[in-house]
Symmetry: D2
Subunit: 437 residues, 4 copies
Amino acid sequence: MDFKILTLGQALIRSPIDLSARDHTDRSDYVRDDQGILYDISADVCSRCKGQSRGDVLELAGPREKIYFEPSQVHAAIVTCGGLSPGLNDVIRAIVMCLWYRYGVQKISGVRFGYRGFLPEFGLSLMELKPTIVEDIHDEGGTLLGSSRGYGDRLSDIIECICRNKINMLFTIGGDGTQKGAQRIGEEIRRRGLKIAVVGIPKTIDNDLSFMEKSFGFETAVSKAVEAVQGAHVEAHDTIRGVGIVKLMGRQSGFIAAHAALGSSDVNFVLVPEVPFDLDGPNGLLTHLDLRLDRRNHAVIVVAEGAGQDLFVDDSQTDASGNKKLHDIGIFLRDRIQDHYAAQKREVNVKYIDPSYIIRSLAANPSDSIFCARLGSNAVHAAMAGKTEILISQVHGQLVHVPIQLAVSRRNFIDPEGPLWRDVIDATGQPRSMKNF
Amino acid sequence: MDFKILTLGQALIRSPIDLSARDHTDRSDYVRDDQGILYDISADVCSRCKGQSRGDVLELAGPREKIYFEPSQVHAAIVTCGGLSPGLNDVIRAIVMCLWYRYGVQKISGVRFGYRGFLPEFGLSLMELKPTIVEDIHDEGGTLLGSSRGYGDRLSDIIECICRNKINMLFTIGGDGTQKGAQRIGEEIRRRGLKIAVVGIPKTIDNDLSFMEKSFGFETAVSKAVEAVQGAHVEAHDTIRGVGIVKLMGRQSGFIAAHAALGSSDVNFVLVPEVPFDLDGPNGLLTHLDLRLDRRNHAVIVVAEGAGQDLFVDDSQTDASGNKKLHDIGIFLRDRIQDHYAAQKREVNVKYIDPSYIIRSLAANPSDSIFCARLGSNAVHAAMAGKTEILISQVHGQLVHVPIQLAVSRRNFIDPEGPLWRDVIDATGQPRSMKNF
Amino acid sequence: MDFKILTLGQALIRSPIDLSARDHTDRSDYVRDDQGILYDISADVCSRCKGQSRGDVLELAGPREKIYFEPSQVHAAIVTCGGLSPGLNDVIRAIVMCLWYRYGVQKISGVRFGYRGFLPEFGLSLMELKPTIVEDIHDEGGTLLGSSRGYGDRLSDIIECICRNKINMLFTIGGDGTQKGAQRIGEEIRRRGLKIAVVGIPKTIDNDLSFMEKSFGFETAVSKAVEAVQGAHVEAHDTIRGVGIVKLMGRQSGFIAAHAALGSSDVNFVLVPEVPFDLDGPNGLLTHLDLRLDRRNHAVIVVAEGAGQDLFVDDSQTDASGNKKLHDIGIFLRDRIQDHYAAQKREVNVKYIDPSYIIRSLAANPSDSIFCARLGSNAVHAAMAGKTEILISQVHGQLVHVPIQLAVSRRNFIDPEGPLWRDVIDATGQPRSMKNF
Amino acid sequence: MDFKILTLGQALIRSPIDLSARDHTDRSDYVRDDQGILYDISADVCSRCKGQSRGDVLELAGPREKIYFEPSQVHAAIVTCGGLSPGLNDVIRAIVMCLWYRYGVQKISGVRFGYRGFLPEFGLSLMELKPTIVEDIHDEGGTLLGSSRGYGDRLSDIIECICRNKINMLFTIGGDGTQKGAQRIGEEIRRRGLKIAVVGIPKTIDNDLSFMEKSFGFETAVSKAVEAVQGAHVEAHDTIRGVGIVKLMGRQSGFIAAHAALGSSDVNFVLVPEVPFDLDGPNGLLTHLDLRLDRRNHAVIVVAEGAGQDLFVDDSQTDASGNKKLHDIGIFLRDRIQDHYAAQKREVNVKYIDPSYIIRSLAANPSDSIFCARLGSNAVHAAMAGKTEILISQVHGQLVHVPIQLAVSRRNFIDPEGPLWRDVIDATGQPRSMKNF
């Protein structure tokens, strides 16, 4: 018996959807009939090439029959770094529960306030962790351990602290910077011949890490962002010439903005870092906003915080952790739109909403909770088996081990020619480009 | 530069986690170090073997450069069948919006109350669909069109109605039975040489269709189920020897029960159709419940409606649609547990919760909404390109075309040896088996 | 300057609203123009008649300038009895916080599992309470202390335990039975000349206590009940001749059912204990259901668990606590409606939802949280001032002291002639009576 | 039988709670034992003094036996003005449903975008309203009719429009300014001897109207504000020396801020317009913040938008509607706190959250929905009975008629000596005053 993709006949009519038939055009592409994916994606990590996967074949996560550490000898430590994300407590909880109940490990410590917790000058002692302490923490947002940015480069102090406390298993929950730090710690440990496993759980509310199809907390954050967008829609809709603007997280990639636009369905313009746009000119945002307001009386704009940075005269300021300081595109848009209509002496009612931390400080929803629970326990399985310098990540729906070095080597961005952005354009009806030529 | 999975040394200690090292043992398996997945899973649907994919390579969904139907000639119809699922209205909305705004199709009809809407004896006229009618329907649960079970075998009447109304594009939103009906309709259409595309969007709140890694509405349903489980936990915990029992949907597969247990974290026993269990005897549920109550004073049991059917004297009744009538395992457990302790003259306080339709009649959460929007618009892309007898499905995170015949050829079950059930066992701490030998 | 209720002229047309102009007719009354309420309701608890208020004037709750107990000498105990209600933990938290931070009391104990916690045969020791223990408990439903029914008549054992532990302040959180127990304890304490304050916080999810316009947790429970009702509406609406039935708590009074019907707006019939109805006959529920289904194809029925008990042949069973065992009116209605249409050979699709404990086991919403916080701290103010045998209750929007004896002397019911039931009838459109003559 | 408030003996110890025993001291007062309220508050609106209630006795709302308008002759109009509030659509729905189904009125119009909808220059036609149009609108936030500010003084144009359309019943849903406009319209109608009823439903998300114990939408807004406060708490708590600042609505009165602080329980400082405070100096906010951060490492500040306006050099700007333009106290606090610690070279991590429109653009929760439904139907009862120039308001738990003139004669503020502020101080632990002497 054959299973065929049936077609009715030859497709000869040109699609009215305005896409591109070629790559590298900065516009979404049509899909060709010969494009497919494999159904069975299991593959051997061949013994010969073991450890040289280079990303071709990713090792499956999960409990191994033989483990490297004698549970009674383990002192595990957990550290959470960087900004908050829904689900941090779920991950901490899962690590503790799996260590304790599955492997019988009873010495588990929490490092307070990120990498700072290792450093002598802050005087932060380790926090004892066990089931009775963590069993209900997932009902709260944030992280039981506290968090902070930076200090991942204080290698010798960190390792000194690890050794002094006889920690032989370190779980680093954090983003790009944190995992680069973990990588350096792991390398130094290896250089010194120490038997300490370093396993990372990637955290990025912006969903911008590579080798990872989904970051924990992202769905929860998007759900909350959708509420803000719906509020903006109601405000814009129920007034005269209303413009709702919602600024959402996303420094380098606009995944939250894109998903929030898809998840509500009231958004007319999504602005993301990956897709430059002009404000003025015949194809600029303001021109398209004019048309929208004249035709429909209201509009909703969702803007990622990192969008449109080229619209500012660049002064290249950086913050303490070396991140480029972003200009406030939300306030900028709000003011420019108001000025634009003031100059035209036309009414406009701009309603600006910046939910800021609201979307990341809440507890994980059940879907994220399940995901976090699995990330945490699989991180434990990996560490117990003696794996090190790896991240636990989900790829093609499976939890896998990804070498940290591989994961931090590049970032994840919205592909302006890919299906996500195509769907966003379709859902919003915004022009494929708002750049003037 | 090499990216390696690093290990600290040779793992020699036997894991204390009680799993199996071999397949087909009915217990969860360890993962071997050589088990992996491909990172790049794109593949050519080779021209020569086109249409003979047999599930090896699945065709990517998405808009095609050339389409088969002239938009002005299209009369599209949408039908929703079977039980409700969160997101039905999102899918309907997305189909209408994509047809109307992307392709310019302006003749779209809703078929009322499932396949019944095609049949003369019910006198149900088609419902005109357009953007102003569907734009807000996704805020409500259920389906704008109404639904019903069965009648998918009334082939000639259905096709007569399709032809009379000059429908040349049919979207069938429904489960296994519905899509088998769609398959028959498609075959008959093909036999008659008609130019009518039949594209299905699979719906199964139980998540039990194959060639599909995620069914729409499932996440929303699980979120709501988690609330019921938390209620049962609170009730059981705050009384003397409290036992909370929650019955959840899942006739043949226990995915909702398993995920609800993972998403709360208060469940002690999950009972699913895939894993038989005994009530009595030294390894039966009641024995393990005794131990739990003596040790912890409370317990929470989550039971899928199809679990434990072998505990009843089978009378093999079926309902009107030919589905086997299930015995009420929830009430049965409640009564058996009460009798058990009454016989022992020991106190027990059983709190029974059956959320029933509550978990499926609500509106989709943002994550499901996004998924539904994509399913709907990709169904439209497929139909416009002249594809027929296919489903839109998500596999490895990608939307693909799956021949209906392939998808309905088997069901999806929890693999008792796979990672999901392993994680459930770990999260609940329940015995790997509750069968006596 | 005069502030007048202005009228346009003489009202001479008979209102089409079918109400009664007389009292005691079992139908809602019109309001007369001369019916009013006082704006300023403050009143002196006159010194002469102090303590003889008999309910004419209720003493305001709040902190007094002079207190009776030396804080360092206080040992306060808290007990929670009976079924769960959202907000129990908020009340416990507020009592502990106010005692500790406002008055400096540092000896506070929780009595475990209701009045059982006082009794020697259960061997339940007191639980130490302090801010670090209670600060986050309001995020969870249920009660930190556990609860149980009954045992309020074990006077000498309870008082023996109170004296042995040198408790001189007892907070009883519970319903009618609990507060009757508290009253007996208080009387016995008084008889023995002990200096122990007994202050109750009334709890009744059914809202059926008198001298109380609002019970804590009621709003939260109604919100959740509304979700179930909306689910029933969606299920009933989206099928052929669908009937959604939702059974809600309410043994003797139907406040939850009535409010859930008002709070959704999809209910067609509300059945409560206060308003008898017939099933059969020309004016019975089934006749009105026929009409509704023929006209609108679907119907939603909300039934309080105590409604329609006269429809059963009474066998007057009671449960362990002496409460009359209720017949299951929900299942009864479901079966009778199915039989009714089976006999007529007409289709019907009954969707039965019993949210049971789901509506009472969740955490309080913010509005209830605020209310609980105030009940708790005012209970402390009262006890510190040496008040005893009183409840903290809200009347006309103010927190007052109500003698327990007064509050337990009668129950609160829906007045079939009052404004609440009038509004329910208006919102549902159900007949003013479904009794045959 | 006597019901007494029992006391254990004479209270002689001075309370450690630092309150005032005298009025007019700007600090919360103790409650005296002789302070009480009446239990039975019903009163006759005596025939002799009918219409001269002056606020002593408020007329009960509800359906009258005799009505003034012949339903078939009624043309009712509804207008919504000012900022959004949860529940606007519930009120509109209830008015339409009650007019249509209870009284048989079939001519109902919606005035678009506030009082603008009456004015010729905007060209906004009336919107026909009937049950099929309004039946589901309460699921959405905002107002079906749109809203705008101002124009309530365009008397002759408004009345001209009312007469031209033969409107004889006007429902004005709006705040202080709107109802003052309604009052002027009513007076002019009276002056002209027209038979047109004007009935207002007061709307104020700030809860600052007098003769009204509860404004619709307030609870819903507070619930959402609590989420923002919890986010601020999590952010502040999980970082080093974190300060969470949440700015909430409340131009002249701080009810939302006060209730949000009570409803979460993580707030350390609440700043409201009614209670002035200093930033600097030995008793200023910054000094108390220093103490808090040193002791507890984190702090949460909730500030009403109208608080602390005296901290700015006043430039007395007003906006288009004549409202004083407020300085942005939230941004000001954020910057001043950052500068304060920068000057001290001490770390601080300020997390600023401004939920702005998020808290007012959502749909009403069930509790508010019920309240809105009752306000709406009682407004209809009043208008049908020929009442005019009145508001429907809740006082002491009862719906009453309040002359508009009376209600707009003053505002409602938090009484710094009253029980609400006392409870806020107790819940936050903030100093009774943060003014220097």
